[in-house]
Symmetry: C2
Subunit: 364 residues, 2 copies
Amino acid sequence: VKVSVLGISQTKFGELWNKSLSCLLAESQFTAIDDAKISVDQIDAIFTGNMCAGLFSNQNNIGALAAQILNFKGPSYSVEGACASGGLALYAGIEAIESGRAQIVLVNGVEKMTDFGSEETTKGLSAACHEHEQMQGATFPGMCAMIARLYMHTYGLTREELAMVSVQSHLNGFVNPNAHIRKKISVADVINAPMVADPLTLLDCSPISDGAASIILCSKKISPKKIFITGSAMATDTILLADRKDLLSWPSTQKAALTALTMASKKISDIDVVELHDGFSIVQLLALEDLGFCKKGTAFKEKQNVLINPSGGLKSRGHPVGATGIVQAVEIVKQLQKNSKVGLTHNVGGCGTTSVVHIFEREM
Amino acid sequence: VKVSVLGISQTKFGELWNKSLSCLLAESQFTAIDDAKISVDQIDAIFTGNMCAGLFSNQNNIGALAAQILNFKGPSYSVEGACASGGLALYAGIEAIESGRAQIVLVNGVEKMTDFGSEETTKGLSAACHEHEQMQGATFPGMCAMIARLYMHTYGLTREELAMVSVQSHLNGFVNPNAHIRKKISVADVINAPMVADPLTLLDCSPISDGAASIILCSKKISPKKIFITGSAMATDTILLADRKDLLSWPSTQKAALTALTMASKKISDIDVVELHDGFSIVQLLALEDLGFCKKGTAFKEKQNVLINPSGGLKSRGHPVGATGIVQAVEIVKQLQKNSKVGLTHNVGGCGTTSVVHIFEREM
């Protein structure tokens, strides 16, 4: 793979009461097109990651909506893989360039989540297996809480150490003007926040956000920014946690990371900056270990030799699900425009059910 | 493009009260794998077209569900483009082979629609633009009825001539053991059926169905069946009918057909058999004209020189939306296994918003 990044954009993330799904998509798309310094008629295809517009906004065919906004008449469709929908759109966009069908593609992620009651939101986020988990009362926070308990029991993680993950995320997000929740928090704040699913409190969980992000890719080295995607991989695992051998590692992340790194001829120690999928604090520890930054059961013990979620991650930057995989890419590109040379994005749907990993490099 | 068809399958279509979404996917996938005479570990990627599982079955991440059923851990995601979701999955699967990332792909279409009340179904089928059409009370049958009225007024189509479209569809579906509605009907039956949206009655509209279909594709000529896909194209148009210049032609169909035929080096007169997207009787006339089989305003006047919807089409075979684009391909492959040499599938989302066209050929 060698795909060049031509332009990036994101909307502010948050509870954006005054912006509809269409508004978010329009703002994100037009800003990316401006950033790429191209015109709409240079775009060959559009890919959009979205999970819940059919339920939340009564709007299907989001690919056509994205196209309509730009008065674009070419190929445009949406892909879905729960919270990994954005990463999958990126994966599909790169595939279109590799196939030779497209030279320039626009890839969007979008989600409008906050106009609805909590019951509708819970229903919409039912990435968990409906027949065997959801109908038994298992929720996403509930399953991650079980994983957290097991991790604490197995590796000796304390409640305070777990809380430190959220504290650091908020410290990073505090300086990100587009972040949903810009507020420094303490270990005590996390521990004393309202309980969601023991041991996870409200401040261990990523928020429900609105937002969109876009990235424009190109098959040729015509980007003045000299930033490339050199690895692109995805892997799946059972939706049902009950079918897994080990709750403390996510093989789909391991497999996607290995494939993407191999594709880019890189080792994990080459990565300067990572935007990983921390839907819950505990999940950041699992991700660091499964991606290969450290040994299993040690992520909370040692300072990592990589910049982790400089944007604030899902926790502080916010998590408009379809947009997350794209805003991760946007953030990594921004970091490569500064000091970093090699970056990695890690986008997950479900409890490690769908993992998508991309490697970004700045050419010297 | 030159992609070989290794295997096909479909479930029976209908009101399948005793089969869940998972059951339908399982039956379809395993039957296709048997038909292709391959094992699961030969599959490189899975693509699934689905529109409404998040709303109807409380189940997202249908790509992961398809993978879980097969104990497959590789790339698998779903694509959505309203009633064109199946055709888009086929398009994406072919792109994966063309990109070199995959050698063998499994492509599914699935929809479970009949376990719900009519209000939920109507909401789920809101492919129309939510903000500008649906909120004003415009429904899909309502918009197609307007198109029918305009066509009758412009080209002199009579109510009886329009009814003949459904009569012929039911005649074809009567001999298809997998069709949802196997019942011969008369012109009088159509005209006297309950009114849905004047002039369209219940027998001008495709039914709400459950069903799944699968096709297995391969990059090399290892299929003993010698059937290939040689053209694959999609195009989009505005979701909003109000933004169109002409209600009586769908430029997305014209564009997709032209691109796919050019790709396959074929003329429309080379096509022996077509499975086209007749969600409503009037739409079959528009499709025949936009695909290029006859001049605008003449489809109802002359007998076409091509076998049209031998399966019964959406009207009689049934229309489980995500499955339709794939079952069209399955039917064309079956026809090529008999007498036909060149076939075409035409799958549409919305009122001509998303059109997907594929060309199939049997090698002599």
